[in-house]
């Protein structure tokens, strides 16, 4: 069979499939599927979890109306989001620095979670023989999209049945949140070198012209990426995002669909009467559990539900925007086409109705996105995989593959009392700080590899070291109203043990004529291009005091002892310290 004949057959097959779809697709029969939110409500009625009155009460199932009415357009929603975002400021969400392989870190053991966005500067070394200052920037892949939805720049679809054109979906953000990225830079003087040439001697003094031998900008030190293998459970925040704007929008929405004679509703009397008939005679009488479920039991009967929906529910658009009376008879025809925009679209009540529905949906979108940010930040993964690429100064680059597990246990502490009124308008079930578990245990198991097999180094192979570490943190809380007492009293104390079995020796790369950064080796042959040390197991013990539990700014300070480092073969004491800023709160529209 020639290629042309084969192609011809494919084209005919595809055309036949398209034709079959056009002829037999549900829309051709006038049986358009209900929007997802409407279908979900009908399923809940069929299962007995919701009642027909919930469907008739439009504000209660407002997402269904939003998805159904063509008058509620995405552009109007964008404007509402931009207007509401500055009013719906979020509360800060917690978190934090560099991995253990870095020259400047306070952490011997990696944690499984990645903050939504943080910047840390740290000084010290865990297994490295030189200490440096580093800056680490890290974020989850969901960091930027989360910020966009929390700032009302992009709408947020908070459940699979909520459809807003151009929105970020909850499921996508949850997936992106599993991936974390971090970049570490050396910023200390040891990463920079100064060269000079001396002028002729003037007695015992000598003038020299000095210049930078290297770029003074921070040098790349490494990057890491994390993926959550087992996500932690979602826990409700002790203080959720501010709900007042959404409550206000909801009350205005309730009023938009209320009886104009008794509850100051905004609709014209004739439109309200038609709506009232539609609610009682079309929806409450027809969308019963018996009508929506199969005869065999509670199972949702999609075909029957779709038929009722197309016959009765879809009338709401014409009732509100065209002034059409409700037809709740058994012979009512399917609603073929919904009015867009409708004869009464320019009337004030209809304009207000659109504005109130859109404002509510935009407000709910921002509220839900901020709530999701809090839930994701609190649900730290139970098990993560981390890949580190390290570029230590004057050493070959390495890769570390790491499994990280973590578990909190003991009572929940640092949780302020509930039920605090915030202002005259709204009472919120507030607490000031999120609760944390008294103890957290973290375990790391890792293998470190040289990215290029070391040449001409006796006993060296690709596999550099096996690493294992464990950390036990205990949180301490202080409810003092004094800022300084609150800061000093809300901290974590961590005890760490870290073990590294060096399979291959540590190697220093030497460029002839250039000094090693922070290291002096005497007696080297001019032709030497690499120096290696005696290999052996490293045992490292650290006690760390972490100031700033539940705050955006944290100050970890640590003291440690190790039997040796990667290059030095005798025991030594060291100190590590740092400061980190979690700017998740900025991304959360604070």
């Amino acid at each position: 069979m020639s290629l042309r004949t084969r192609l011809g057959k494919y084209v005919i097959s595809i055309a036949a499939c398209v034709l079959f779809y056009l002829v037999f697709s549900p829309s051709t029969f006038g049986q358009d599927a209900p929007p997802p939110a409407c279908e979900w409500v009908m399923q809940k009625i069929a299962s007995g979890a919701a009642q027909p009155s919930d469907f008739a009460n439009v504000p209660e199932s407002i997402t269904c109306f939003w998805e159904l009415a063509p008058q509620l357009r995405a552009q109007v929603m964008d404007t509402a989001l931009r207007t509401l975002a500055p009013l719906q400021k979020s509360t800060p969400i917690v978190q934090t620095g560099a991995t253990s392989g870095s020259n400047g870190t306070t952490s011997a053991v990696s944690k499984p979670s990645t903050p939504i966005a943080s910047l840390a500067t740290e000084y010290g070394g865990i297994t490295s023989s030189t200490s440096n200052q580093t800056v680490t920037l890290q974020s989850t892949l969901a960091g930027v999209p989360s910020a966009l939805v929390a700032h009302g720049i992009v709408p947020y679809c908070w459940s699979p049945v909520v459809l807003i054109p151009g929105c970020f979906k909850q499921k996508d953000l949850q997936t992106l949140n599993k991936f974390g990225l971090g970049l570490t830079f050396n910023t200390s003087g040891t990463s920079q070198t100064v060269n000079g040439t001396a002028s002729p001697s003037q007695g015992t003094a000598q003038q020299a012209s000095l210049s930078n031998a290297s770029n003074r900008a921070p040098s790349f030190s490494g990057f890491f990426t994390k993926v959550a293998l087992i996500q932690g459970t979602y826990k409700l925040p002790s203080k959720g995002p501010p709900g007042t704007p959404t409550l206000k929008a909801r009350q205005e929405l309730d009023q938009a669909f209320a009886d104009p004679s008794t509850q100051h509703g905004i609709l014209q009397t004739d439109v309200w009467n038609n709506l009232s008939t539609w609610m009682t005679d079309c929806v409450i009488k027809n969308f019963t559990r018996a009508n929506l479920s199969a005869q065999t039991g509670e199972k949702y009967d999609k075909a029957k539900a779709t038929s009722y929906f197309n016959k009765y529910y879809r009338q709401i658009v014409a009732i509100l925007f065209d002034g059409t009376p409700a037809d709740c008879s058994q012979n009512a025809p399917d609603v073929a086409a919904m009015p867009d925009p409708g004869k009464r679209i320019k009337d004030i009540p209809q304009t207000q109705l659109i504005e109130r529905v859109t404002t509510y949906m935009a407000s709910a979108s921002i509220f839900e996105s901020q709530l999701n940010q809090m839930l994701e930040a609190a649900a730290s993964p139970a098990l993560s995989f981390e890949y580190d690429f390290n570029k230590p100064i004057s050493q070959p680059t390495t890769s570390t593959l790491k499994l990280i597990g973590s578990k909190g246990f003991g009572p929940t502490i640092c949780n302020k009392s509930q039920g605090k009124a915030t202002n005259a308008e709204t009472t919120s079930a507030d607490t000031d700080t999120a609760g944390v578990k008294r103890f957290t245990a973290t375990l790391n198991i890792a293998g470190s590899l040289y990215n290029s097999p070391p040449a001409n180094v006796p006993g060296a192979g690709v596999f550099r070291a096996f690493q294992a570490g464990t950390e036990l943190d205990t949180a301490i809380c202080n409810q003092s109203k004094l800022w300084i007492a609150s800061y000093l009293g809300n901290a974590t104390i961590g005890l760490t043990y870290y073990y590294q079995d060096q399979i291959s020796p540590s190697i220093l790369k030497i460029t002839p004529g250039e000094p090693l950064s922070g290291i002096t080796v005497t007696g080297l042959d001019p032709s030497t291009s690499s120096v290696f040390s005696k290999k052996g197991p490293i045992s490292f013990v650290q006690i760390k005091y972490g100031l700033g539990v539940g705050k955006n700014v944290k100050f970890p300070i640590a003291f440690s002892w190790s039997n040796r480092t990667d290059l030095i073969t005798h025991a030594l004491w060291s100190a590590q310290f740092g400061v980190s800023y979690d700017f998740s709160s900025l991304l959360g529209s604070k």
Binding site: A49, I62, S159, L236, A421
Partner: protein
């Protein structure tokens, strides 16, 4: 007489686990536009509040914090009563409301 309102996990009155009250506002619908009733509700906790209101018709508006994919929350006068005051279809909207007539 005070009215105790509870947030429940299901229509059988089990205490809420997947939802918390984030906030509650009471509107007096006798006034135009409807006005917020200050000082109400009282004793708001994550799963309940108390209302003590004079004669009138009120719109009780609630917003919930909830875990992802939470479905329907039930608001009862007490979790052991037969008919809920409101069902909040959390999967489609985080808010719920009910009209309360105090005679």
């Amino acid at each position: 007489m005070p009215i105790k309102v509870k947030l429940c996990e299901d229509d059988k009155g089990s205490p809420a686990k997947s939802f918390d009250f984030n906030g509650v506002t009471i509107y007096d619908t006798a006034k135009s536009p409807a006005q917020v009733v200050s000082g109400q509700p009282t004793g708001l906790t994550k799963t309940g509040f108390t209302l003590l209101l004079p004669v009138g018709i009120y719109d009780v508006v609630m917003i919930l914090d909830h875990v992802p994919n939470a479905q329907v929350a039930y608001v009862f006068e007490d979790c052991d009563k037969a008919n809920p005051l409101a069902r909040i279809l959390v999967f489609v909207t985080p808010t719920g409301s009910f009209y309360l007539k105090v005679a």
